[in-house]
């Protein structure tokens, strides 16, 4: 059954599949945790019940998304050993401590305070509850810090020594390893992406309920508040993200030029200014870009700020050290295209807001609904770009992916891959359906909390007495 693929391809497919499915959830929960903290802070400061209602509405969604992130993340912490044991042995001394710090400083913090955040409002009171929410936010951010440091070290390895048997040993400075050259750029770009992704989901849910309320001839104040907040976020953060992405791209050009060549579709070197290809069908076998449509010299302008600056192409790289262009060329364009669509949505919302039509413009609301999942697609496309662009290496330039693999035969890797595909699709498919169902539920006054006591019949008619203002 798996004879069509070798064990290496299957192991890579397994990692790509499990990490892509996993990353959907943290890219949402990092942003959503912060949004919940903002809502709770607004409620504590203003006392307006609408913020508490929205907090409770999104908290239930957060709980489901977070649970899926936890269990799919647990799988990731063992993927390194099961399918990439040689990588673990060789690089464990450097990346292992960073991942251990992620567990110590982030995972325990998130998990420890999550219970209080979800269920503890009545038990600990408002102040401590807000502190717990903030702890979960800090935990999600610290988690991103460490794991992106690990990934970035694999992309731009520095601060290491190599032992006689070919293992990576940490050099004298952990600071150099943690803050490796691509880390700050990747960290900023990823965290902003999480915020933007969340804003687009919140905006889509708000827009959805504004459209439904309009159809039913009523108003939905709760939907207005979340839509307005989300559109502010999109309008302010989308341009920042494009700048951050550009900076990240320039950093990649400095450290991993082959990746940028593949992203740009530059099979050939351009000594007198390189074109920016907007479209084309890359062909890795013949190393040509068919049906290319491009703007002359534009790529040199963007990457070198000089129209005539020479840019080397993949023909300057040994054939066995080139990343696959066909995937990168498209994943990069999908990410960038969606980024500009987000920018357009944010700008549109600003214009509508200035004209007083933010809540009454059905076209804007339809566009916001359509853009709801775009953050996830952009995030997956972006990670595909950076990870596939690292090929054929796991530790860039030093350890190849083929050398990193476990001595596990193809049938075992294939069987476990099949199990992951079937079970993830079923379990997380149902989970995502639950999330959509919860987002379809109308946000309303007196949103029910998650605490058990508040479920007692006497309280279902209204908010618990201590929360009534």
């Amino acid at each position: 059954m798996f004879t069509a693929f070798d064990a290496l391809t299957l192991a890579r497919m397994q990692f790509a599949f499990t990490i892509s499915f996993h990353f959907i959830f943290p890219s949402f929960s990092i942003g959503l945790a912060s949004y919940l903290a903002v809502l709770e802070a607004l409620w504590l400061r203003t006392g307006k019940p609408v913020y508490l209602d929205l907090f409770r509405y999104w908290l239930k969604i957060f709980a489901v998304a977070f649970a899926m992130g936890v269990v799919s993340g647990l799988v990731m912490s063992y993927q390194f050993g099961t399918n990439w044991s040689v990588f673990s042995d060789k690089a464990g001394g450097v990346i292992g401590p960073l991942m251990a710090y992620e567990v110590l400083t982030a995972f325990f913090l998130e998990a420890g305070f999550l219970g209080v955040m979800l269920f503890g409002m009545e038990k600990v009171g408002r102040g401590l509850h807000f502190a717990a929410t903030v702890m979960v936010v800090i935990g999600t951010t610290i988690s991103a810090f460490w794991i992106i440091s690990v990934n970035s070290w694999m992309q731009t390895p520095v601060g290491y020594e190599v032992s006689a048997d070919g293992r990576f040993l940490p050099g004298p400075s952990w600071w150099a390893i943690i803050f490796n050259p691509s880390f700050p750029y990747r960290f900023v770009h990823t965290v902003i992406a999480a915020y933007l992704t969340t804003a687009l989901v919140v905006g889509a849910v708000g827009a959805w309920h504004l459209l439904r309320a309009k159809d039913q001839g009523r108003e939905n104040g709760h939907a207005r508040v979340m839509f307005s907040m989300a559109m502010w976020m999109a309008a302010l953060v989308a341009p920042i993200q494009i700048i951050a992405g550009d900076e990240h791209g320039l950093n990649t050009l400095a450290h991993q030029p082959a990746k940028v060549m593949a992203m740009e579709g530059h099979f050939q070197s351009h000594p007198e200014g390189a074109p920016l290809y907007l479209f084309g069908i890359p062909d890795d076998k013949t190393q040509t870009l068919h049906y290319a449509i491009g703007i002359p010299k534009m790529s040199s302008v963007i990457l070198k700020h000089d129209a005539d600056a020479p840019l080397a192409g993949l023909d300057s790289i040994a054939p066995d050290k080139r990343p696959p262009v066909a995937i990168l060329f498209w994943s990069f364009r999908i990410m960038v295209g969606l980024g500009f669509a987000m920018l357009a949505l944010g700008a549109w919302s600003l214009i509508a807001r200035a004209r007083g039509r933010l809540y009454t413009s059905p076209w804007l609301h339809h566009a916001a609904v359509l853009m709801g999942p775009s953050g996830f697609i952009a995030v997956i496309a972006g990670w595909t770009t950076t990870e596939v662009g690292r090929q054929p290496y796991t530790v860039y330039g030093l350890l190849t992916t083929a050398e990193s693999r476990s001595p596990i035969a193809a049938p075992a890797v294939g069987a476990s891959l099949l199990a992951f595909v079937v079970i993830y699709t079923a379990v997380f498919g149902v989970g995502i359906w639950y999330l959509l169902k919860m987002m379809h539920a109308v946000p309303h006054p007196h949103e029910e909390p998650m605490e058990p006591d508040a479920h007692a019949p006497i309280r279902t008619a209204g908010p618990p007495p201590e929360f009534a203002k």
Partner: protein
Amino acid sequence: MTQNFDLTTIWALILAFAVLMYVVMDGFDLGIGILFPFYKPGTERDQAMNAIAPVWDGNETWLVLGGGGLLAAFPLAYAIILTATYPLIMAMLLGLVFRGVAFEFRWRAHSHRAFWDLAFSGGSFVAALSQGIILGALLQGVHVEGRAYAGGWLDWLSPYSVLTGLGVVCGYALLGACWMAGKLNGSGQDRAFHHARVAAWATFAAMAAVSLATPFLAAPYYQRWFAMPTLLYLSPVPVVTGLAALFLLRGLAQRCSGQAFVLALLLFLLGMIGLGVSMWPHVVPPSITIWQAAAPERSQSFMLVGVVLIMPLILGYTGWTYWVFRGKVGEHGYH
């Protein structure tokens, strides 16, 4: 080497502590999952879920620390063990996927609840069984050549490893039953004590069988346990284990759920000490010692700083969470 000796030994103890904490924290909640089919659908199952919903995520984090800590402090052991027990790790992870999402999913659609309850109990059972078999597979020895696992992908399967697997399932069920006895009143509590008694006897049987079988797995184990003078040093271990078992039964008879829970944990601790004594100083018997598998000194010392500074904080806020959610559970769901 002497410096490295100390640090590596400390890291072996830290990882042993992480495994122990994992058993302390996640053992009972996996155990409740294992016992779940014996609870009536409806209120009883909702109560069982409520007894662990606020804390399960933190509990499971100790398993991530075990995995991450092993990678960081003993990368070679991590690489070999996970390759050697590949199908078990996959089964454990997928089991934990099912049980983890069930905490939230079972409240989301009433018509799906029976399925997610099954996923919760099935996932808990598979995860516990896999963990126990991994333990047995490690003890019976792993075939290593050079720096890599060199055995087949079913080498882990043997009567001994299945025995340790079932032993862990019974032990977790015992912890889960004691926890439920502390969280419930009335007839639910009666049933929990009944489950605890059954699970206790099953655990004793499994522990006895594993204890008898282990010295005969390999000559070094036999010599460690039955040669003078180690026999003298180690003789308290089985004696204290026997006493702990007796007091556990007495605690259950007197309906002291807290005492029974602590004694069940003591049994696990003694079992770990016994197996640790057999393995020492190997992390992958029979060939890889902790020093051969150790990460570079700089890696271990860097992490030690983190553990010393952060672990007290973790224990502190984890304890606070348990304090917040102390006491008996109500009948209403957390959702």
